[in-house]
């Protein structure tokens, strides 16, 4: 492990203009904002699932689903970020994440693509645009902005 990190660092030093410090991110859209989540956390993407609602939980917990025998809680990311709820459509899907051995599913408006993102170019979000559950962002060449989901924060008790 230590070795690979060394190698990456060396390469960066050698060739600062062609950085290799790249990670893959899955981007999705929720309430017209593009978010990115590291593919390290992503298990799979599912659509149209039967959600069993749970009583007496915060509204953003949509319930639990049965994913091949495993029960997984589902969080509506819109509601979790304090946005207005929206009816689920054909593009609505659930991204199953595994964060520190805890599995959760997040409901998002649509999934866009997987991007290679240079970690060095990630910048903190200006405070006036601060979103819940996000800590950093990146501006892409085409002018669009991707906010990165803070997965640890998502499952924080």
């Amino acid at each position: 492990m230590a070795e690979t990190i060394d190698i990456v660092e060396n390469k960066v030093e050698e060739d600062a203009h062609n950085p290799k410090n790249v990670q893959r991110f899955l981007t999705f859209v929720s309430d017209n904002i593009t978010f990115g989540v590291s593919t390290d956390y992503v298990i799979e993407i599912i659509s149209s699932y039967m959600i069993c609602t749970l009583p007496m939980v915060p509204d953003y917990i949509k319930g639990i689903i049965n994913l091949r025998g495993q029960t997984i809680p589902i969080i509506d990311i819109r509601l979790r970020m304090g946005k207005m709820p929206q009816d689920y459509t054909a593009t609505t899907c659930i991204i199953i994440l595994e964060i520190n051995d805890i599995s959760v599913g997040i409901v998002v408006d649509s999934v866009t693509q997987v991007l290679d993102i240079d970690l060095d170019r990630i910048a903190p979000i200006p405070t006036q645009n601060q979103q819940e559950l996000t800590s950093s962002m990146i501006s892409r060449e085409d002018g669009s902005v991707v906010l990165f989901l803070d997965c640890e924060e998502l499952i924080r008790q």
């Binding site: 039967m50 009583p55 007496m56 915060p58 639990i64 689903i65 049965n66 025998g69 029960t71 959760v104």
Partner: protein, 706 residues
């Protein structure tokens, strides 16, 4: 600690704990007849030997020391026969043995919790040695010491003559020649510890072999020839001797004068050689090497696994988590099987061969389920035997004559339940003896009872649950005193006259209630029965108490046989499906609006069997839309859990199913979902999830929104 060590430690803990459990049982039985049989002595000897060996291997010195000394003690008893002990010695021996197993157990617990072990066990060891001295008798003892002394004396001749003593040794006038205990292991390090200790005293000395700290091979030399410490004056010799004497694991040491340097007394150096035997258990020690060759642990295990030769058990120990995983997998198979066979795609098709195969599959999965369930079943005898020990200790300390009768100890229940009932049972048995059985024998005789009190511990199966009861033939519970006390403590919720006998006894399980005004070592802190109730409810059980003044009381625990699979009634409320454990359901019935009465606070009640019970509307509690709101449309389910009894209003009953209970995902724990009356979930045949209701908590949650 690396992985292999971790595995070793696990095996060690398992093995040692089971040996200690076995010992406890053996001691209890032996004490009942007041004597050890020859087999018992051998068994104790063997167990201690194993504990000693494996503790030494893992360097738990304190455990090793204790086991070692007990082993010595029993070696003596084995050699001389148990009959050589008189009655007082025997009872002392029993007390010592109980104390020793407790001590060992407490140290093992420390190992389990990763705490540092006690290092100073000298007083304890001397207690063991004291008893050994007492039984072996002073005269025998001294002669034994003398014999070893002479043996050791002759011993020194040969190695000394042949010993290539280092040059330095020739210039020092005095030696201490140290022999370590056989098989204590790592002699070189032990020798080095002595060197360190001597250095701390700022003595001038030399030692041989002089590479003990750097050369592990020196251990063999020390085993063969002993360890030499050379000092320059007689005064230092004495100081060094005390240091050596205080060190551990030393079999014997002797002070010698170097003939070559000492001019004074060359005529009889042997006589000068003053042999001191560190361990008063010398006869055992000197004879021990023959009988306890230090075989590596595996062969020792074999020895204890089949103590009587003929009994061979094909047992393996499996990690519980693997069984849990198997259980979960089998649960999935059962569900998947029904998903396949009742698939909507098959509707309307006439598939003879498919149906035949499906039936065969069902039979196999049922068998598989039964077997995987039975794997987790263990008998309650382990827990019951522990009670023997508690009764024995309390008998001694409270001076009450009580006997414990055990019925049905072979009853098998799920492993988690066996683990869960240990503490509650202990509380109940303690309560029965401390509060139940009369303090004086005269009281019992006056009441026309057997002078010896009796506590009966029994376990029986009834279909889906196991019933464990503890009954005593003591003075019974004084309901008026309980009521008065409850009133004093301010835990009454209605007028005193309204309490029924059953309700009064239930008060005993309210937190902070204790009838004994005096706090004893065993009970009276007022944390007893409410903890019992909580623990038993945690494993899905119910506690009830019955009592008759003057005749005794009985505490009964009703516990489901297994927690992993339950019989449940599926109910629907709106679009949601819930499962209610069948064991909680008393009755389901239709009612009309006219049957409902309102209490002064406006809560709905209904009359069942001459009593009124509150109604909890599931759709209101969980704010479920599109559910039946009119009593006439839905159905009432009379449910009961521990002391709660009420009617749950639901839309309709779907059917009875065996369900595999799954815990809710860990992420949801933060929302205190248990408090809202949900104990877990289960996956239905069609792949949907049904929520399992915890009837007791549903009521609590409902009371919260009233």
């Amino acid at each position: 600690m690396d992985a292999s060590m971790e595995g070793l430690l696990e095996t060690y803990l398992f093995e040692t704990n089971s040996l200690l459990d076995g010992l406890d049982e053996l001691l209890i039985n032996a004490e009942k007849i007041g004597d050890f049989s020859e087999d018992d002595v051998n068994e104790i000897f063997r167990s201690m030997h194993t504990i000693k060996g494996s503790s030494a291997m893992l360097e738990f010195n304190c455990l090793m020391e204790i086991a070692h000394h007990i082993e010595d003690l029993f070696f003596y008893i084995r050699e001389n026969g148990i009959d050589s002990l008189d009655q007082t010695h025997k009872s002392e021996l029993f007390n010592l043995m109980f104390k020793s197993t407790d001590k060992l157990r407490s140290e093992i617990e420390k190992v389990e919790n990763n705490e540092p072990l006690e290092t100073n066990i000298d007083s304890f060891v001397s207690e063991i040695n004291g008893l050994l001295k007492k039984i072996s008798g002073e005269s025998e003892d001294s002669s034994a010491v003398a014999s070893t002394a002479s043996a050791a004396g002759t011993n020194t001749d040969s190695p000394k003559a042949a010993l290539p003593l280092p040059d330095t040794a020739d210039h020092v006038p005095y030696f201490i020649h140290v022999y370590f205990e056989d098989g204590c292991g790592m002699e070189n390090l032990r020798a080095f510890m002595i060197v360190n200790a001597l250095q701390e005293r700022e003595l001038k000395f030399t030692y041989y072999p002089n590479d003990v700290d750097s050369n592990p091979g020196s251990a063999e030399k020390i085993v063969a020839d002993g360890f030499y410490v050379g000092v320059y004056s007689e005064e230092d010799l004495k100081k060094a001797a005390t240091v050596v004497g205080e060190s551990q694991n030393i079999r014997s040491y002797e002070m010698l004068e170097n003939e070559e340097t000492s001019e004074t007394d060359q005529s009889e150096p042997e006589a000068k050689a003053e042999s001191i035997v560190h361990d008063p258990a010398s006869p055992a020690v000197s004879a021990a090497p023959k009988s306890k060759p230090e075989t590596p642990a595996p062969s020792k295990k074999k020895e204890t696994a089949a103590p009587h030769g003929a009994v061979k058990q094909d047992l393996i120990s499996v990690n519980l988590s693997k069984l849990d995983a198997l259980m979960a997998l089998v649960g999935e198979i059962v569900i998947t099987e029904s998903m396949v066979t009742s698939s909507p795609d098959l509707q309307g098709l006439n598939l003879d061969n498919f149906n035949k195969s499906a039936r065969q599959l069902r039979k196999l999965t049922d068998d598989l389920q039964d077997i995987s369930m039975s794997l987790r079943m263990v008998s309650v005898s382990g827990v019951f035997q522990k009670m023997n020990r508690i009764v024995r200790d309390m008998k001694k300390n409270l001076n009450r004559d009580v006997r414990l009768t055990i019925i049905g100890e072979n009853t098998e229940v799920d492993k988690t339940i066996v683990d869960g009932i240990g503490d509650p049972l202990m509380h109940i048995v303690r309560n029965a003896i401390d509060h139940g059985i009369e303090e004086s024998v005269e009281d019992r005789i006056a009441a026309g009872k057997d002078p010896q009190g009796e506590v009966i511990l029994s376990a029986t199966h009834t279909g889906s649950e196991v019933i464990i009861s503890v009954s005593d033939d003591g003075r019974g519970m004084d309901t008026e005193a309980i009521l008065a006390k409850a009133a004093r403590n301010g835990i009454l919720t209605k007028p005193e006259s309204d309490y029924s006998q059953k309700e009064i006894l239930m008060l005993l399980m309210t937190p902070g209630f204790s009838t004994n005004t005096e706090v004893t070592e065993y009970s009276g802190r007022g944390v007893g029965l409410d903890v019992v109730k909580k623990n038993v409810e945690a494993i899905g059980g119910v506690v009830s108490i019955t009592s008759e003044l003057g005749k005794g009381s009985c505490t009964t625990l009703k516990i489901p046989l297994t927690l992993a699979i339950a019989d449940g009634m599926e109910i629907s409320v709106g679009n949601s499906i819930f499962t209610v454990p069948i064991s909680n359901i008393r009755q389901s019935f239709k009612a009309t609006e006219d049957d409902i009465v309102l209490d002064p606070a406006g809560h709905e009640m209904i009359r069942c069997m001459d009593a009124f019970y509150p109604i909890v509307r599931a759709h209101e509690l969980y704010s479920i839309p599109d559910a039946c709101t009119k009593i006439d449309d839905g159905i009432l389910m009379w449910v009961e859990a521990s002391d709660r009894s009420y009617c749950l209003f639901v839309d309709k009953l779907i059917g009875e199913h065996q369900v595999v209970v799954k815990p809710l995902p860990p992420y949801l724990q933060q929302f205190h979902i248990k408090d809202s009356g949900i104990s877990g979930c289960t996956i239905l045949g069609d792949g949907n999830i049904s929520i399992i209701l915890d009837i007791a908590h549903v009521y609590e949650a409902a009371r919260g929104i009233f």
